[in-house]
Symmetry: D2
Subunit: 379 residues, 4 copies
């Protein structure tokens, strides 16, 4: 049995989710390369050791660079805030380690470009890289893409996507690094807006070509956990209209102020032959309208995406036994390990991540210029 040692950097929300995926991939997907949870890296010794013990990592490091030096580690999983991605990823790839990097790929287009360059250098040596847009691996989302690729929607005319959360709706919610432009790059835009951009592009196989955008910061100052207040230097909400390369219209909205919407990533796609709708709060469902159904019984079908014939679902439970949020990471890792074994290039690639970054940059550019049209670079 081939194995690959994994070193993970960061053990907050994303680190916990990835750990569960590294633990779960063998029993459910029996990957051709088995991961060994070798080391967890973090800054504070006692904390990282406690986290490693609880999350199932065999050792702990207080300097991520140490992971690159270890021969038992062949893959680096980056779960830090966005401002650390570029440095770690480039160093890891240059050290010959496969890299899985959380999204968004970077905080700026320039960083993302450097990462893509490193990924290309590494690829030439058989070293793989992948960016963690995990929602591509929601079975319903993967199925949605399949239906579009098979032509069951015909020509795509409309994309509308929303990512609605409400955790900042209360002005008393405390300040975190996610509200700091230097750490997070942007607010709702990069955190959750990036997800709907990637997911919509993944489903449709199309890309956003140009946008007109606006952003808003409703609460400019928030209580700091250490006392006093801190300035919010990112957007609370970002919205834009746009056109895709192939001529569909698009509407996107990302917000942390949609009271009562907890994690509602909604995508609806209308084509000349059919339509799709998805809401992450109902993760196991895909709604599909087949325009070729007879008129008498046509209607949006609630597909419970838990059948053996559905993407990923057969690896888990019998039909109707639903999956949850973290399963998407297991799917992601299963595909990454398969690509490592096969020698193929896993997707979403760093280039995919860069393209999303360029859409984000166009959105910010348009928003800063009073919603004037901004073409997406390279599209």
């Amino acid at each position: 049995m081939t194995t690959v040692g994994v070193g993970m950097v960061g053990y907050a929300f994303m680190g916990r989710a990835h750990s569960q995926a590294w633990r779960s991939v063998v029993p459910f997907f029996d990957p051709p390369v088995r991961p060994v949870m070798a080391a967890l890296a973090g800054r504070t010794g006692n904390e990282v050791r406690a986290a490693a013990d609880r999350l199932g990592w065999a050792s702990a490091e207080t300097d991520w660079k140490e992971l690159l030096r270890r021969d038992d580690i062949g893959l680096i999983d980056i779960c830090t805030p966005g401002d650390g991605h570029a440095e770690i990823a480039v160093a890891a790839l240059d050290a010959g380690k496969h890299v899985l990097c959380e999204k968004p790929l970077a905080n700026t287009v320039a960083e993302a470009e450097a990462m893509v360059a490193a990924a290309e250098r590494a690829a030439a040596r058989g070293v793989k890289s992948m960016v963690g847009f995990n929602y591509r691996r929601v079975p319903a989302v993967t199925l949605a893409r399949k239906l579009v690729l098979e032509g069951r929607l015909g020509t795509i005319r409309h994309i509308r996507a929303q990512y609605l959360q409400d955790w900042l709706s209360d002005p008393r919610s405390p300040w975190t690094w996610r509200m700091d432009r230097d750490r997070a790059g942007s607010g709702a835009l990069g955190d959750i807006g990036a997800h709907i951009i990637d997911t919509a592009q993944f489903i449709t196989g199309d890309t956003v070509a140009g946008v007109s955008a606006l952003t808003e910061t409703f609460v400019p100052e928030r209580p700091h956990p250490d006392g006093g207040t801190a300035r919010v230097t990112v957007d609370d909400a970002a919205l834009f209209i746009g056109r895709t390369r192939r001529g569909a219209t698009a509407v996107f909205e990302a917000t942390r102020f949609a009271t009562g919407r907890k994690n509602s990533l909604r995508i609806e796609v209308n084509g000349s032959r059919g339509s799709l709708a998805f809401d992450l709060e109902s993760l196991n469902e895909l709604w599909f309208h087949d325009g070729t159904d007879d008129g008498e019984t046509a209607g949006f079908r609630r597909i419970l995406v838990t059948e053996p014939s559905h993407p990923y679902a057969g690896a888990w439970w019998p039909p109707g036994h639903v999956l949850g949020y973290e399963h998407t990471f297991t799917h992601e890792i299963a595909d990454l390990l398969a690509a490592i074994a096969d020698g193929t290039d896993p997707r979403p690639s760093f280039a995919d991540g860069l393209q999303v970054q360029r859409v984000l940059a166009a959105v910010q550019d348009s928003a800063e210029r009073g919603s004037g049209w901004a073409a997406v670079e390279g599209s």
Copy 2:
């Protein structure tokens, strides 16, 4: 019992809907002024006579101007395409007849302004005017406005509205006057976009201040019912982002190409204390999230808006017995008759209609200028 003679112009879709409302208002609302369905006007004698007979009008006229000359008629109900609204309404008001005019008020801002001027002149003489944004009178929509006005949503942060239809999704669907800019003014924008603008503004008590927009015509030519093809000179879809006068963000989309969506007017409003969601395909339901509910049981409530305490509902049936599309017209007429009896000014007024027209104009202006920002005149 006071009565008012009604003369209606036009007997297509809207004329049929209004006729049912004129017939139904007495048994259910017992209005202080009873309408008498005096005359129906249309161009073709035998057709208008047949329609009058079937729809319950006591007489028929082939020239709408005749209605203005008749002493037994005190109210003109205009159900013609938009290009005829201004002439008929101004003449009727100047002749001292109350006017109910279908939406959109007119095809251009200039026409709408002339109509508002006529309405003001008429109002000074006690003559009433109203524009038919009937969805204000969906009980769920009226209730939504009430909740906003009572402060149960707090400060409004987000408005997102869609009006999705699919009757043009098929390129073989025939050309009609609704695809002709001269007759219809615009396409999806004025026909259904006007509805979501009015409804969203009605619910929130706020107005759109500026927009960035794009429009699209997917199918530029369609088969003409008389043979050959005809050019589509209006938009198939219109979408825009914007800001309201009080600082909320807004996203609007109107399309006739959303395959599988038949008449889906959806509005969602997020405020600092709560949220609302509505879909016209589920006309009797309002979804309300009360942010002051305890965290353990908070959730969007499906309010079935059929209780005696709900707007209009008590006039009809016991709780749970649902209403349909045309009930909104009965509510509209009941309110108009009450205003005539009370001497108050019915809403939506022609000025309200003009304001919607100005938003439509800003949308077209922005769309024609590559999505550049367009302020709404007067806001």
Copy 3:
């Protein structure tokens, strides 16, 4: 144009609903026989005259027998409580008047049998009779039956039906005649249980052959509107399991104590090839699972039953414009008038009503014998 004069007895809830249907049938269905709303009968002169005026009846009578004597009246519409049905219907039929009788047909099987005998005598003379199970004419329900008849569900295995209301959930809700066994025959069972029995049998084309039942009266005494309290001599809830003639299982439940359920008539049918689900609170929707859909995209379809190809829907509005509760009565009357013109026998017939009555009797019999099995007479 052939016409038929209509005389209606009773003007409470059902009378108001029927009046709206008599008013609406001409504009929307253009029936071959036009009804003339000739007279309304009720006990109290000033009240019946006021009701006639408001509901659109040309005259008023204080004795229903007078309607039978009038030559201008050819059809009697019975909207009284169940204890009056048999006398009026038999007399009307014997007087050569067509009869539309509200459901349940009667309060006892014996009365119903007498009514069926009268209907058969009358039919021999071309006089028509119909019982008002109006939910057969919900377009979604009519479509459901059509799909079953076409074999799209295959062999029916399961029927589950509920009629859930909550208007008696509060023990302080006042006593009405509906709680008096002498007037109403039974409680939830005959009032709403009859509806689900008829609707389920109509959809499946099958009949209940035997049942095991229980009934319950949660609140045995209620405040009387005139002061004091009155005994509740009917069931608050009735539930039963059963088998149909063709071998399906059935579960039925009718209650006025389902807090929060206002008028939730739900039916679900599972067959070897497909399934159907319906909820009257979402009257315009039928859910259909087509077992022959490919496994990847199979799912319950939400059919919005408002297309021109759907039963009754084309007579009203364009697709997506929803219908309400009272439209079912217009459909019923349109079909009755068509049958009178055609000389065919309208359904549901009095015999259909008797069959439902026999199911109700079996339910009561089983409930009174500690849930022992009770075969339905004649099945």
Copy 4:
């Protein structure tokens, strides 16, 4: 850190689910006693070794009795078909091992009684036992019980529960041990009917006192995987009405023939003050109607049960990040380990399992006697 060695018997569907739970309980629940996945037992050496390797068990045994002899094992997890439960559980408890036993507790009341006796003997020595009705630990279900216990539903009047699957709807689906009365005890009744009985009783804190039932076997013979056909000696569907000890009515239905329903465990409870509804296909949602809400905004609330204040949810992800089917087993095991640490008695106990068995026995008894009433023993 205290630990407990775990030995698991069986590695089919339930064994895979339990393994994932044993792996996941430490990172998410940090239990006071840490489980060590010591050994997996199965009949076939190479198969059980491969399963142990993949599922994360440190060793494999081909005789479950060996697990009882091992000092490093303190807890036996029984995931075999029902006919093996009693022997293993009694032996394990008598050997001083804690026992987690899958549901239904046994195939007969007699076996279940023997198991309860063993559990009581063991309890006296501090040895714990638990039966695996995992749906009690769906956060929405646990929350439902909490709301009932807090009185937010008032007096319970109605319980209606369905467990709808369709995997036998096709007569060509092959025969398995689940269709053999000797192995499985019963069909839909014991497999999924047991779940709705336990879940409904858990939520309401009430128990079924008597029933009237029927069962059906639609397809009496099925293709055997080894060729030929085999007889189905269990029910395909089971349904019953009943009364609870405290006076509520109950309707239950369990079937494997509900085409299109994959794993739809639905429970609805109506009380004098409120109602609850749940569907396992939408595992993260609880619908709650609070009858004390003001009439204008009352409605069923869709509670997304993913808040930190909700049962179990806080251990996983931020609000809105949904859980899946197998999380229920992790919750079960977390509670079992907590009980072992605390010295308290975990629930559902073997006595709880026996009580469910007695309801099942009453259902079978009634069904065999033509649906005559059957009191539940001990209630």
